[in-house]
Subunit: 303 residues, 2 copies
């Protein structure tokens, strides 16, 4: 069985690889690192990149924390014990260019000591990647989902189908009845079964992590040299406000962080640099903005 130390070490390596790729992609900005310790146990490496050629604000965070779960989280997790260990890599990138998408990736592992009725620790993997284009391009959506399907298919034929539907449900802004973007994959509490071993799940988790950089590099390079208008920039700011709504109202990782006394600036690193709430803004009929809005729904099959 893979140890939590091994998982945490491999996740750190993935953080390093991704930061290197993103600096190459940007060509100007460099990550700044802050090492932090958590009251109650563990800590992390927050890495933030800002004001780049293309990366306006992004974070690639690693953490490995342990301690005792607050009551609210125990209830949400439906567990009795309260000692926990959690490690993960979490990324959000806000580009400065409205035709380049926002992206999010997260891989994580959670463990608690064995409970009374078993000598095995309680443990699971979770994670996902999802894309939030300010403007949805169908060929980009097909490329993105196609790559995620390839990663999933390497480990289990059901993964893509299940995790794509899960992402549609998870990255959903209920009060707007719209998806955050074009989805991707999302999975949580993934444990070994007859079909999938712990080792498969761990390898799958790392493959998800390693899919992020090449896929995002391609998407950025497809659009970074296109010109854009002031109107498109305004639409970008409006879309970012929806992103902030999702993260502050619904995102489980954000809630977990706020409730477990996490490092606020690392948790809220995901929030956009400039966002605008325009009152009752409705895109013009027949516009690209309206087309994007019409594609922010669940259940589109992109592959």
């Amino acid at each position: 069985m893979i140890s939590k130390e091994q998982i945490s070490a491999d996740y750190q390596t993935i953080q390093d690889e991704i930061c290197q790729s993103l600096e190459l992609l940007d060509g100007k900005a460099r990550f700044e690192e802050e090492i932090w310790e958590r009251d109650g146990g563990g800590g992390g490496r927050t890495r933030v990149i800002q004001n780049g050629n293309i990366l306006e604000k992004g974070g690639v965070n690693f953490s490995a924390v342990h301690g005792r779960l607050p009551e609210a989280v125990k209830k949400a997790f439906k567990v009795e014990q309260d000692d926990f260990f959690a490690t993960g890599v979490s990324i959000v990138i806000h580009p400065n260019h409205p035709l380049v998408p926002i992206i999010h990736m997260n891989i994580r592992y959670f463990e608690m000591p064995s409970s009374f009725d078993t000598d095995q620790p309680l443990r699971w993997f979770g994670g996902g990647i999802d894309l939030t284009p300010h403007y949805v391009y169908e060929e980009d959506a097909r490329f993105f989902h196609g790559n995620l399907k390839d990663v999933c298919d390497r480990y289990n034929q059901d993964f893509y189908h299940r995790f794509k539907a899960w992402a549609d449900d998870y990255f959903f802004i209920k009060h707007r009845q719209e998806t955050r973007g074009i989805g991707g994959i999302f999975y949580d509490r993934l444990t070994a079964t007859e079909d999938v071993s712990w080792n498969d799940i761990f390898e799958f988790s790392k493959s998800v992590g390693r899919t992020f950089a090449p896929v995002y590099t391609e998407l950025v390079n497809r659009h970074r040299h296109e010109t854009f208008t002031e109107q498109q920039q305004q639409w970008q700011y409006a879309r970012r406000s929806r992103y902030a709504e999702f993260n502050l109202v619904y995102d489980a990782g954000t809630k977990f962080g706020l409730e477990t006394n996490g490092r606020i600036e690392s948790i809220l690193m995901s929030l956009p640099p400039t966002a605008k709430w325009l009152y009752n803004h409705t895109p013009e009929a027949g516009s690209e903005e309206e087309k994007t809005q019409s594609l922010l729904i669940k259940g589109i099959n992109w592959v």
Copy 2:
């Protein structure tokens, strides 16, 4: 006993008065009104003012809704019945000028039919006014709190003391350990007692509503003609992002609206026009920004 129709009618009058005062104050922008109906019962008059001389984005909303409470709200309210009636006026103003404060005012009334153990309906008043200066000026804070104290003192000698402390606790961004602004007054589930009649509470509620316009007019006029720097504007945008955090994560009215299928654009009208999340932003030692930050704490006695 005052009827809900009377309360709702008087609240509408207060909405009219306030809109008139704010148009005079701004001198350029006019309110646009949308009349809406709620699936399930009732509706409202949303009035929004935008891109004025000084009022960048503001809403003065009236609503009177009825129907059945969702389970989550019943639990939060600790009530058994589910028929409800709620009416109120709710205001948030975001000025375009960083030296002019953000302001919020709300007065509301809630009623449910009598429960088994009493023939009286369950009913209460709630409300408050609080100020969120981008830059805290002590003389403005004293003026603001002094006026609120005067209104409170007209009805009950304990009101200001109780409701000021309540505002400090309520308008608190827990994950930042800072108050949203310099507070004000906040009260909820206010019912008649030996000392205060229903009529007193109703009159107090209307006086709170009628304090808003003259007090905000004075605060705007104190600063609207002062020049400001680009750096001060950036600080304004950063402070607005904290305002958005509070409203999306903690504000009970926002949660109630999102959970009772309220009109989204009316509920989220409170969110700022342009906001910025700057990573790990810390004001310079000795700056005005640092002074403001140091005053965003509970328990300051301004009167």
